[in-house]
């Protein structure tokens, strides 16, 4: 069974059909990209997958469990993590604290336990911090740990947000335009990082505009146009698909 199975997904906003009858699968251990011109419905698709919007039609199966329409925090608890197009870090907290929030689904201490500061709670805190540092180290940003997240550079913030999403030890990671605002060198670094993430056993679904990144690291590519899927194959085939070419270059 595929890790993620999307069938007949549809979402309408007023008069606009943002996503129309979209179906695809993401196999475990692969990197799959979703591309398409602006307004193609990519962000809406992500919101539908991560629980920020409920679809009008269709189903989403994650690890054989139906998740469409469920709230984001429940989906996160199942092992699906995401980043955002316009980085949403917790600006007033340190980078480390941001990543520690990423461990939320892998820890348990509640409200009352937090107030009482019991030994078990303290132990869990140490574990959370250690795990967060490990992820930051993996991404090479451990030295930024104590800096306020709001004071970091754009590229650093992107890295911290990625660390936060990874800290949850997700099985599926949704990356929403991770290369936006990055220069060529940073984009190349990002490609390497995604490869290493896959190496850790994380499946990646990525929405992206940057073709070099997409074609270089993806195992499969889905192309959306006006909310509909027009291609779903390996990068090479997609590049040569006449429909895709027409959509990107115009008639």
């Amino acid at each position: 069974m595929a890790l993620l199975e999307v069938r007949g997904l549809g979402k309408r906003f007023g008069g606009v059909q943002a996503v129309k009858d979209v179906s695809f699968r993401v196999e475990r251990g692969t990197v799959k990209a979703v591309i398409g011109p602006n307004g193609a419905g990519k962000t809406t698709l992500f919101d539908l997958l991560s629980g920020f919007r409920a679809p009008d039609t269709g189903t989403v199966r994650f690890k054989e469990t139906r998740i469409e329409g469920r709230p984001p925090h429940q989906i996160a608890a199942l092992g699906l993590s995401r980043t955002f197009q316009n980085i949403k870090l917790f600006g007033h907290m340190t980078a480390l604290e941001n990543v520690m929030v990423g461990r939320h689904v892998r820890s348990r201490s509640g409200f009352v336990a937090g107030m009482l500061d019991l030994p078990a709670t303290r132990r869990e805190e140490r574990d959370i911090e250690a795990a967060a540092l490990e992820v930051m180290d993996f991404l090479g940003v451990a030295r930024l740990a104590r800096a306020p997240a709001g004071s970091l550079s754009y590229g650093q913030q992107r890295a911290v947000e990625l660390a936060r999403a990874l800290a949850a030890e997700p099985e599926l990671l949704l990356l929403d335009e991770p290369a936006a605002g990055l220069n060529m060198r940073e984009t190349a670094d990002l490609a390497r990082v995604i490869g290493r993430i896959r190496g850790r056993g994380v499946t990646v679904l990525i929405v992206e505009h940057d073709m070099s990144l997409v074609m270089g690291i993806s195992d499969e590519v889905v192309v959306l146009c006006f909310g509909e899927k027009i291609a779903d194959a390996d990068p090479r085939s997609v590049q040569q698909d006449p429909d895709v070419v027409r959509v990107y270059l115009g008639e």
Partner: protein
């Protein structure tokens, strides 16, 4: 990190002791009474500070919870069931040690509910009401909790003023002290002034410790995440609705506890404690001290409540708090103690070039 927290509370405890010694030494021992009352009011605003600063919600009904605490304790502990001793349910309550026989002013005996039982009931009631209010309203955004709590606070205010059983406009008096055992009690007048002072501020210190622990814990981080970027918090698995509810209930319970205990200390309660103006006052104090900044809120509460109780604001009491609210919100919405002067000046200057808004 944990050490600094304990150090802060330790310093605070030292300050409390110092304040008492200074007051006593300069012959102003009677200040202790207002300071003790201030401590209980501080409990209310600490909870509110967490709610406003972290959960980003505003409650205009904390006085309502305070009144639930105070009036429940007052009504139950001044009840006289001695005329109904024969009844089965009274006997059952007596067997369960929930009743207290005490002498009244005329040499007779009065049978009322034990203060600790009334206290427990009051807290339970406060929590239940908070959950009932919070569950439907916290899933909405913006004005809604503010309006719902305003409505709630006004309902409580109208009910206590209009109900004869609750003393109507005169309130309830003759509330007995709350015996904690070993001769320690809350209430009871001048002879126990010192004890009351330390009990009250000790409670505040405990609350500070618990809240500071909370802020630095997983739940506290999750709350901060909600404050920072709620969508991202949800994406990271934080059940934001539930956490906001828990914070709201915590703030409500703190207000309820404060209401009950202060009523025992004062020996009574009146409808003004339930008024909307009181709720607004609590919000003003949190705004000044910095929403979410516990020490800031505590400082603001200590100063403002003490001055108000000593009568320094005269008949302009309400106007002062209203004015404070407006000024702070206009110029330093994150609280005076965290005011960013450059930011303020930027606000006053032409908008061109000023970066994004505030949350």
């Amino acid at each position: 990190m944990r050490g600094s927290r304990h150090l802060q509370v330790g310093l605070f405890a030292a300050a409390v002791v110092a304040a008492q010694l200074v007051a006593q030494a300069s012959g102003k021992g009677f200040f202790l009474t207002q300071l003790t009352m201030t401590a209980y009011y501080t409990l209310v605003v600490l909870g509110l500070s967490l709610l406003m600063g972290y959960a980003g919600q505003i409650s205009l009904g904390q006085a309502g919870f305070f009144a639930i605490g105070g009036y429940t304790s007052a009504a139950l502990t001044t009840l006289d069931l001695s005329g109904q001793r024969g009844q089965a349910w009274v006997a059952a309550l007596a067997r369960a040690r929930l009743l207290l026989a005490r002498p009244d002013l005329y040499g007779g005996e009065v049978l009322s509910v034990q203060p600790w039982a009334a206290f427990g009931l009051a807290v339970l009631l406060g929590a239940v009401v908070a959950v009932s209010l919070g569950v439907p309203v916290l899933r909405l955004k913006g004005h809604y909790l503010a309006m719902a709590t305003l409505a709630f606070g006004t309902i409580v205010s109208s009910v206590v003023v209009g109900t004869q059983r609750l003393g109507a406009a005169d309130g309830i008096s003759g509330v007995p002290p709350f015996e904690l055992g070993a001769g320690i009690r809350i209430g009871g007048g001048g002879a126990h002034r010192l004890q009351s002072y330390y009990l009250a501020w000790g409670l505040v210190a405990l609350a500070m410790l618990l809240l500071l622990n909370l802020i630095h814990s997983r739940a506290g981080r999750a709350l901060g995440a909600i404050h920072g970027a709620e969508d991202a918090a949800r994406a990271m698995g934080v059940d934001t609705a539930r956490l906001k509810l828990q914070t709201f209930v915590l703030a409500a319970v703190m207000a309820t506890v404060a209401g009950s205990l202060l009523t025992h200390y004062n020996g009574g309660i009146g409808p003004s404690e339930a008024s909307v103006m009181k709720s607004v006052r609590y919000v003003a104090i949190v705004a000044v001290g910095g929403m979410g900044s516990l020490w800031g809120t505590l400082s603001a509460s200590a100063v403002l409540n003490f001055l108000s109780l000593r009568g320094y604001f005269g008949s302009y009491d309400d106007a002062v708090f209203g004015g404070i609210l407006v000024l702070v919100m206009l110029f330093a919405p994150a609280g005076i103690l965290q005011a960013d002067l450059r930011g303020i000046l930027r606000q006053l200057a032409p908008r061109r070039g000023a970066p994004g808004g505030e949350g």
